[in-house]
């Protein structure tokens, strides 16, 4: 992730199940048959991921449209 996404809230998020702060790691994301790793905040124990609103409604939408236009 680039600088814009590494906001001060990085360490604010806690996985309630494991009671661990989230850490950056490689997460596989995919759509319509394509899959690839992306750096995201996630719980190192259970793998629960955090996807912020800007990412979901921004880059993800762009990628979805790109992959949809077959």
């Amino acid at each position: 992730m680039n600088e814009q996404d590494a906001a001060p809230t990085e360490t604010d998020w806690l996985c309630t199940k494991c009671e661990l702060p989230l850490e950056m790691g490689k997460v596989n994301v995919g759509y319509l048959g394509s899959m690839f790793p992306v750096d995201l905040l996630r719980c190192r124990r259970c793998g629960q991921v955090f996807i912020p609103e800007e990412l979901a409604m921004g880059k993800m939408v762009e990628v979805e449209k790109l992959l949809e236009d077959k």
Binding site: M1, Q4, G33, F36, E62, L66
Partner: protein
């Protein structure tokens, strides 16, 4: 278009990070597939033309089956490569002037490197020359699926494999005119899409990616570049070309 004016996108860190250290679609998987399909004998001597940091070469060397050598124009990438893989033979040379004897190579690997070159024709001449008869050229590269958008591509100030894309027919002509027989052509455009998707995640958007210097004035140019590139409908292919016969300069066999 002078090379000093062009921005060499393949040296940009964002590009290299997106592919997980490799600056092109398909990654190592595609390299290994190409080699597996080629049926090259153990002990073959293989040149990676445009080897970058030598990641593909290392992978191939680790199989123990091949002797590998790589060349690239970028001293930055080569320096990094030599640091990471000191045992590999990596040299700085231009694709247009290959420092190898005629018929000395069993195979040449050109991974998304030909269309990024200044002088593709010379590079292809070189590949044909240094390959022995029956030797293989393993290419995977970009091609333009809507060739009428191509001429505008050539007018862009950024130089990458995407802006150098030509149609499938032109690729075939390029290879066949030099005495190659194309034994395989596979479309891997989905790999290109994935690569673009990764770029979006690392750079913010495709338009931002094309924005070389990051300055505000470049933003509009970045946007136009993005649209010019997408209107040529870029695709990605893997091809195996066997050197069937030699072609003299004047076109006679």
């Amino acid at each position: 278009m002078k090379s000093s004016e062009t921005c060499r996108l393949y040296e940009k860190p964002a590009l290299r990070e997106a592919g997980g250290g490799l600056i092109r679609p398909g990654g190592l998987e595609l390299t290994m597939r190409a080699v597996a399909l080629s049926g090259l004998c153990p002990g073959s001597l293989l040149l990676d033309i445009g080897c970058g940091t030598g990641a593909a070469l290392r992978c191939l060397a680790e199989t123990g089956k091949f002797r590998v050598v790589g060349i690239d124009l970028s001293s930055d990438l080569l320096a990094e490569g030599r640091r990471k893989n000191p045992e590999l033979s990596l040299s700085q040379a231009s694709g247009a002037a290959l420092p190898f004897a005629d018929g000395s190579m069993d195979a040449v690997l050109a991974e998304c490197s030909l269309s990024a070159m200044e002088d593709v024709e010379a590079a292809l001449d070189g590949c044909a020359r240094i390959l022995k008869l029956g030797g293989l050229l393993l290419v995977h590269d970009v091609y333009a699926r809507a060739p009428h958008g191509k001429t505008r591509l050539q007018g862009l100030p950024v130089k990458t494999c995407l802006t150098g894309a030509v149609s499938k027919d032109e690729w075939m002509a390029r290879l066949e005119s030099r005495g190659f027989t194309v034994t395989l052509w596979e479309d891997y455009s989905s790999a290109l899409k994935e690569f673009a998707a990764r770029l979006i995640f690392s750079c913010g958007s495709l338009e931002m990616f094309w924005n070389c210097s990051g300055s505000a004035s470049e933003v509009e140019r970045g946007r136009q570049t993005y649209h010019t590139v997408s209107s040529a409908k870029p695709g990605y292919f893997l091809a195996l070309a066997k050197k069937a016969h030699s072609v003299r300069k004047d076109g006679e066999r």
